[in-house]
């Protein structure tokens, strides 16, 4: 290939890949083409990993799915005794949903408060430092959250939240039990703290992407500051905020270590969530706790639990990415 031709192929228009193009390139491979193919291959890694995960998880859980069928999803037993093996993941699916629900219930309102404050109200001088500090929360390793939850937060929550609630409202099933702080509530609470930086920073960006004409319009009809936020900003950015919340949910569903350390590690029928103050188990904590000792059918059951978690997380994340993308594209170039 002569120099002139090469300059043409690298002009800023960048020819798109199509079949005839590829054939042509195979015939005239240059350093540039090899470079493009190489970077192309690595660009496929994300796709390969996701597809491979699906294949590995489905193949690995075939034995247990073949033996118990739908019963694997609806069963509550977890019996590893050889000969009477029986596996069902319903309690852990429910445990995952309950802890994530608590995380969303506590974490989302706080995150929204932070986002509104940082995007709309805080003086410019403290805005950047405060957002940075909140984002440092995301950098703290999960195992440290778990360790802190176990040794620092747990005694405090038992004394000031769980014991009073059980004493006063113990007749209600969800507050029933003898609180010792290794339970679904602690798991959900730790998750709430952990999703705050994610949800608040995305919501903040979504809010900052709202055109100022929205705010000006609200101010011009005499709205107060809160009304401006509510009518001009929140209603305009609600699908992005919804996406941020769903992304937070995805994090909560997949989070492993911190939850494993404070949830109590119940198994079988006892892991079916009835009270917030009883030990529970999530899909992720079940896998982390048992995977290394598991053999044959139990291993297959754990891979099956992984498949359930993978499906749940994938569903939540794809949905969330769509929601967030739609909004952030508005400010194309600056954010996206």
């Amino acid at each position: 290939m002569s120099k002139t031709e090469e300059v043409i192929t690298v002009s800023p228009e960048r020819p798109s890949l199509n079949f005839s193009n590829i054939l042509h390139k195979l015939a005239h491979l240059s350093g540039d083409d090899i470079f493009e193919v190489l970077s192309n291959i690595f660009a496929c890694t994300a796709l390969v990993v996701i597809v491979l995960t699906g294949i590995v998880l489905i193949r690995g859980s075939l034995p247990v799915l073949g033996k118990f069928g739908v019963g694997f999803l609806t069963g509550v037993d977890w019996n590893t005794t050889l000969g009477q093996e029986s596996y069902g993941v319903l309690p852990y699916v429910l445990g995952t949903l309950v802890t994530s629900g608590i995380a969303i219930g506590i974490g989302i309102p706080i995150s929204l408060g932070i986002a509104i404050f940082l995007a709309e109200m805080a003086p410019t001088r403290i805005r950047a430092p405060l957002s940075q500090i909140v984002e440092v929360l995301a950098a703290v390793p999960s195992v440290i959250y778990g360790f802190w939850g176990l040794l620092v937060l747990r005694p405090w929550i038992v004394n000031y939240v769980e014991v009073p609630l059980t004493a006063s409202l113990g007749n209600l099933t969800i507050f029933h039990g003898s609180p010792h702080g290794l339970d679904l509530f602690m798991g959900g609470l730790i998750l709430a703290v952990m999703i705050i930086p994610t949800v608040s920073s995305i919501s903040k960006e979504v809010m900052m992407a709202v055109p100022s004409s929205q705010r000006e319009a609200a101010y011009s009809i005499g709205a107060t500051r809160w009304e401006v936020v509510r009518m001009g900003v929140l209603s305009y950015s609600r699908s992005g905020i919804f996406g941020a919340a769903i992304l937070g949910l995805g994090r909560a569903v997949g989070e492993t270590m911190a939850v494993t350390m404070v949830i109590g590690g119940a198994l079988g029928p006892e892991a079916v969530p009835t009270s917030l103050f009883m030990p529970g188990q999530t899909l992720a904590s079940l896998i982390a706790g048992q995977f290394n000792e598991a053999e044959s059918l139990q291993l297959s059951a754990l891979v099956g639990a992984g498949l359930a978690l993978f499906g749940l997380a994938l569903l939540i994340n794809v949905f969330a990415q769509f929601m967030v993308w739609k909004i952030l594209k508005v400010k194309a170039g600056a954010v996206e």
Partner: protein
């Protein structure tokens, strides 16, 4: 009123962070000395011991992950920025974002089934591959974003000199985008230093130094996880010490990068 509520929410978020930092420093500080970071973990009941294998393991994993994850992530990022302006590029970008939010335990299962269960051997390599999968989308993303900030005039200038495209990308574009890429790499190293779940399934944890490529090794997060549940006060004290060492590594990287770049890279670009 709304102002006070917003401020209240910020305070609620900062309290756990402050509490974690205060408690870890208060409890861990007295534990850390030269002997602690250079010796093997003690037997329960004894009062001498350290976390040297854990520090060694974490450094080894960071190095290996860097070897695998950085080239892969940077090349993928180059693809997205230089060639990815088409349907396939958009699909990759989307999958990349999905992979960023993948539960790390699922990555652990994937690598464990492929490498550990198949061979019945825990290994540092398996751990490093799992961590590479976790860093890949982050490095890809930051590389793409920083390459996109390189003005086209630089590329044009290089090409006007008759330099081929790949030379242009490597010598001109990458070196101009260098600081952004390094930022992404450092942030992802900070993230994987504290990653625990996939390591349980791939390197298991150990009381000894690295001995062979098919033997379990230790890592700081695994040491904390393991020691946190021991009733023995000395072992628990070791966990505080390990937590302090880990938090120093992670926050030095993370906060250092943030201070150095001063918000040039907004959170959506380097979302961790």
């Amino acid at each position: 009123m709304a102002y006070a509520m917003g401020l209240f929410c910020v305070v609620i978020a900062i309290v756990p962070l402050a509490s974690i930092l205060v408690e870890v420093i208060r409890n861990g500080f007295s534990t850390i000395n030269l002997q602690f970071i250079t010796s093997l973990p003690g037997v329960p009941g004894e009062t001498v011991g350290g976390i040297a294998p854990a520090i060694q393991g974490t450094l080894l994993l960071i190095g290996l992950t860097g070897l695998i994850g950085i080239p892969a992530g940077v090349l993928a990022g180059i693809y997205l920025a230089e060639f990815g302006n088409n349907k396939f590029g958009r699909a990759v970008r989307f999958l990349n974002d999905v992979l960023t939010e993948f539960p790390s335990i699922v990555v652990g299962i994937l690598i464990s089934v492929l490498l550990v269960v198949a061979t019945h051997q825990y290994s540092p390599i398996a751990g490093a591959i799992a961590l590479s999968v976790i860093t890949l989308p982050v490095i890809t993303r930051t590389t793409e974003e920083s390459i996109k900030t390189v003005p086209n005039s630089l590329r044009d200038a290089a090409m006007a000199l008759g330099i081929t495209r790949w030379r242009t990308t490597v010598s001109v574009v990458l070196s101009t985008a260098r600081s952004g890429i390094i930022t992404g790499v450092l942030l992802s190293i900070a993230r994987i230093s504290g990653e625990t779940a996939p390591l349980i399934l791939t390197i298991l944890g150990s009381n000894f130094f690295f001995s062979n490529w098919n033997q379990p090794i230790d890592a700081l997060p695994l040491r904390i996880f393991h020691d946190a549940f021991q009733a023995d006060p000395f072992t628990r004290q070791q966990a505080w010490g390990a937590a302090l060492v880990l938090i120093i590594i992670v926050l030095t990287l993370n906060v250092g990068v943030r201070l150095a770049t001063r918000g040039r890279y907004s959170s959506s670009r380097t979302r961790l």
